[in-house]
Amino acid sequence: MAETITIKVFRFDPETDGEGRLESYSLEKEPGMRVLSALKALNDQGANLAFRYSCEEWQCGSCAIRLNGIPKLACKEEIQDGMILEPLPDLPVSKDLIVDRSKFFNRQAELYKLPETKTGAKLDYESQGHFWNAITCMECGICLASCPILHTRGGSYDYIGPEFMVSLFRSESDPRIEKNSLETSVKDGMWECTTCKYCEENCPQRIPILNEIIELRSKIMEEQPSYVPDTIRDLNTNLYRHYNPYGLPKSERANWAEGLNVPDIKEGKKEVLYFVGCAQCSNRRDQKVARAIVDVFNKAKVDFGTLGIDEVCCGDVALKTGETGLFEELAKINIENFKKANIIRIVTTSPHCYHIIKNEYPKYGGDFEVLHYTQFIEELIKKGQLTFSNQIDQIVTFHDPCFLGRYNGVYDPPRKVLEAIPGLKVVEMAKSKENVECCGGGGGGNWMDIRAGERLAERRVAQAVETGANILAVACPFCLTMFEDAVKTKGYEERIEVKHVIELVEQTI
């Protein structure tokens, strides 16, 4: 049963056109029809579109294009009414949907030419089992087209990118060779990756790219610590000495709570442990967020407490930057303190803490129920413990934190909370939810300075401004810092303000 659909396809002929344009086409869609089949059908009708393909079974990596802004394999995805087909970003367009991959091609060749020596070892079942995933890479370029950092490099490809990191992981895991590429990889940005995971989200082969990047970082940390960027070493030194990456002395960790009613978790049995997080303890701007949470908890009569100065960093930034040993130490300290305090539930400020406690701590015997504060606030609203009364007549757009959204599939609670605030109008940015573009703060990014191009946060706040919103709502300390800086550097102070969701909640109750 065929149906008539209309789609838009990017057309560009460099010989005749100054710039490209989207052209509408109608066609008959057979049930389950793939995008590639639709393109071929259009050519049967005389459209003469230019596009690449080869195997038509999602294995050769030739046909990657953007579908509604997201890079995918044309042969694998189903065509939908209203779909927009565009070429991959960040590369010169040769014609219509075909891009010039020579920069990419040349980088691959360069990487392969890097010297390697044979170790004399043999390939064995176990080590092969370690990198069999990396071998499935078909070099389709989708991960590169997803990487927000590459969007800001003007097609220069001077940033190593996920695909080459997977390739490197493969070489490094192969016991038969020693590839002398670690130094180059660091120079090309091994620590610039923010671990946002958009590459892995879109990888057609579902390669665990992030695990591989972190393992590479770990390896470099251990074997070639002199290659590691200074800022990364400094933050880990702070973590080691002071149990937080900002270098705030342990004894001062609870100072943010001065003058507030913040119970000690160890006094009596509390329902909720509020896990404050290093940023909220250390930075003045972030301290306001912690105070807002405490204010809201008290007003909602939540039975909570904190660990005070016994709370140490959740360890996220140690793990993500490759300091696995340090991460384990920190995790064990927290887990022991959680257990001593008879914790039932944990609520975090940061999605990073949330993610780590939820997904990593169980590996060290720490199995606790953990919520991000937006989930907890949503719960309080549902239970009637919070009522919103003050109008906030603003337009807000919410930026999904990578570690709440993409990593853990939590998209609705922050939105439900915002929608419950009277007067507040919620609008969406084009790239939201699982397609969110990272603020640039994760994976050590908060501490790294970029080598070139626009900052990710600057790119993102421009997208926020485009929606017409005057508040950019965040739920993560890194997003808060990155975006507030970006608003200043872009000169958007009059147009948009950055606020944590909890700050809006505090305003309305």
Binding site: A50, C60, S62, K76, I135
Partner: protein, 577 residues
């Protein structure tokens, strides 16, 4: 410089085709000191069948009791006894060495728990002898070959460049001419040696495993240059392509599924291979299994949509995920979870068994012209065994490269005849210069329809003659074909038109050869001549003589396995023996 003003590239060896055979040939030629250009019709390393080849690489000689002789016998038996046995000897003797060499270059092949190379048994093989790399062995091979090419300064790769004609001066190769799709410009290669490694001709059919562009251009190039083609009537129909749902129709279901334990069932849930071959069961040769599925369908026991059911539900989900990942993935794209349900398969075109005729040095009868890989004929005879193609690529790729390099070193290069260049440029430009003519897509469809109807699993005289008639009709219309856009830059309509040019010729040659062979053998099933006849123990060759297709027969090349001692299986004939 000629009057056409095209770009000129001078080199020693031009390899047409950048798959496994082409790259291996390029590497070998460069190893012999030659300057090499590898010209790929699409993206290097992403096109042709090598990067997506699933199955495995046969010839490891590691299983107890296995040796090259056993592999040889299986190959000739599977080939319907008409293989060129000299070539088969070379294949089975060298396969193992070439694989270990590729591993040395960085490729990884799966290990078993004892750290030995994991071996799979494929259809028609007596012993497990095929190495694998996950479930896309070709991808890993291509990766290692590609790196080796890039690391070699003597090798230049030109992508998206379509070679449309060879240039021959006084019976010797002088070069080639083609179009570079990214620029739309004409390129003339001046070189004394050309290696044809452009793969097979699966894209003559509307549903096939073959990747984009494989219409057998190399066959036309060879034929028009004066070389011979052989065994053109024997294209392989693989028993298992996805039949349902339509979104994934035609996608490949690797033989590896059957190697790893998959079973075929009819509409009555009977494992029908038990009655057709109680010993080899699902791992009988591909033609045999295809014919069995065909018989079941014809006798009313086919699956819901006219094929057979393939089931792996008795295997563990973990096993399926690790070893049969792509098949699982394809199923999921179509909404079918092979871990939980049986799925429908149907025979479809998979491989070109015949091709450009070569000797044991990969030489054709035209000086300076070589061929290897799927493009060449003789190695696999009337039908290829599973996992015998990947070793073919490396073994004969190397031979072609070495010989071409040596030849280029010894010979004084022939001068390109400008008149030939001008004539071909006219051919190249005609579709975009014709106005208001025939659409290449309508011609393409006519060709697809007749190949599907008359040139598939079962052929008969009437259908073959019809096929030839349609080819000749389309050939007439071809002169009036016109395409929009004057520029040849990524011009899909132009490319389709040029492929029609090849398809007409190759299709007709296949039909003529099928018509001439009045018997059934290996991959050729003549409904009107269902029995295998000893008098047909010979090969059919094809040449261009005075502009016409001329067929001939030649005696078999036999070394250690006399055909009279081979008892080929009797194929099941629907409705009776």
């Amino acid at each position: 410089m000629s009057s056409v003003g095209g770009k000129r590239i001078k080199t020693d060896v031009l390899v047409i085709g950048g798959g496994g055979a082409g790259t291996r040939a390029g590497i070998a030629a460069a190893g012999g000191g030659a300057k090499v250009v590898i010209a790929c019709k699409d993206l290097f390393g992403h096109s042709g069948c090598t990067p997506v080849a699933m199955g495995g690489y046969a010839g490891m000689q590691a299983y107890p009791g296995d040796d090259w002789k056993s592999h040889f016998e299986d190959t000739v038996f599977g080939g319907g006894a008409i293989n060129n046995q000299k070539l088969v000897e070379i294949l089975t003797k060298d396969a193992r060495t070439r694989l270990l060499e590729l591993e040395d270059w960085g490729a990884t092949f799966d290990r078993d728990e004892k750290d030995e190379i994991y071996l799979r048994r494929f259809g028609g093989h007596t012993h497990p002898r095929s190495a694998i790399s996950g479930d896309r062995t070709g991808r890993e091979m291509m990766w290692a070959l590609k790196r080796k090419c890039w690391a070699n300064d003597l090798i230049q790769v030109v992508e998206e460049t379509y070679i449309t004609q060879l240039l021959v001066t006084d019976g010797k190769i002088a070069g080639a001419i083609g179009v570079n799709l990214p620029t739309g410009g004409i390129i003339v290669f001046e070189c004394p040696a050309v290696i044809l490694a452009g793969g097979g001709s699966g894209r003559l059919w509307p549903i096939t495993f073959a990747t984009k562009g494989k219409v057998g251009d190399g066959l036309r190039l060879a034929y028009e240059a004066g070389a011979e083609l052989v065994d053109m009537e024997f294209f392989q129909i693989h028993p298992t392509g996805w039949l349902w749902p339509p979104a994934i129709r035609g996608r490949v279901v690797s033989e590896g599924v059957r190697s790893d334990g998959g079973i075929l069932l009819n509409s009555k849930h009977e494992r029908f291979m038990e009655k057709y071959d109680p010993v080899k069961l699902e791992l009988a040769t591909r033609d045999y299994v295809s014919r069995c599925i065909f018989a079941e369908v014809k006798e009313g026991r086919g699956s819901e949509h006219g094929g057979a059911y393939l089931s792996v539900t008795h295997l563990s989900p973990e096993f399926i995920e690790r070893r049969l990942g792509s098949v699982l993935e394809t199923g999921l794209v179509g909404g079918v979870d092979i871990r939980k349900q049986a799925f429908e398969v149907v025979p479809e075109h998979h491989y070109q068994n015949g091709g450009v005729k070569i000797n044991e040095h990969s030489q054709t009868i035209v000086d300076g012209l070589y061929a290897c890989g799927e493009q060449a004929g003789g190695v696999h005879g009337g039908n290829r065994l599973g996992s015998n193609s990947l070793p073919d690529l490396l073994v004969f790729g190397k031979i072609a490269g070495e010989n071409a390099a040596q030849y280029a070193k010894d010979i004084k290069p022939a001068k390109v005849e400008e008149r030939q260049v001008e004539e071909e440029v006219k051919e190249i430009r005609r579709p975009s210069e014709n106005e208001d003519g025939v659409s290449p897509y309508s011609l393409s469809k006519k060709l697809y329809d007749v190949m599907w109807d008359e040139m598939h699993i079962a052929r008969k005289e009437k259908g073959l003659k019809k096929c030839i008639d349609v080819m000749e009709e389309v050939a007439e219309d071809f002169h009036k074909v016109s395409v929009p856009d004057k520029s040849l830059r990524y011009n899909d309509a132009w490319l389709t038109a040029m492929e029609v040019r090849t398809r007409i010729l190759v299709g007709e040659i296949m039909a003529q050869a099928s018509l001439m062979r009045t018997e059934s053998r290996a991959a050729l099933f003549r409904e009107d001549y269902p029995v295998t006849k000893r008098e047909w123990e010979k090969n059919i060759t094809v040449r261009q003589v005075n502009g016409q297709i001329k067929l001939d027969t030649q005696p078999l090349v036999v070394t250690i396995m006399p055909p009279e001692e081979i008892e080929l299986p009797q194929f099941p004939i629907p409705g009776g023996k």
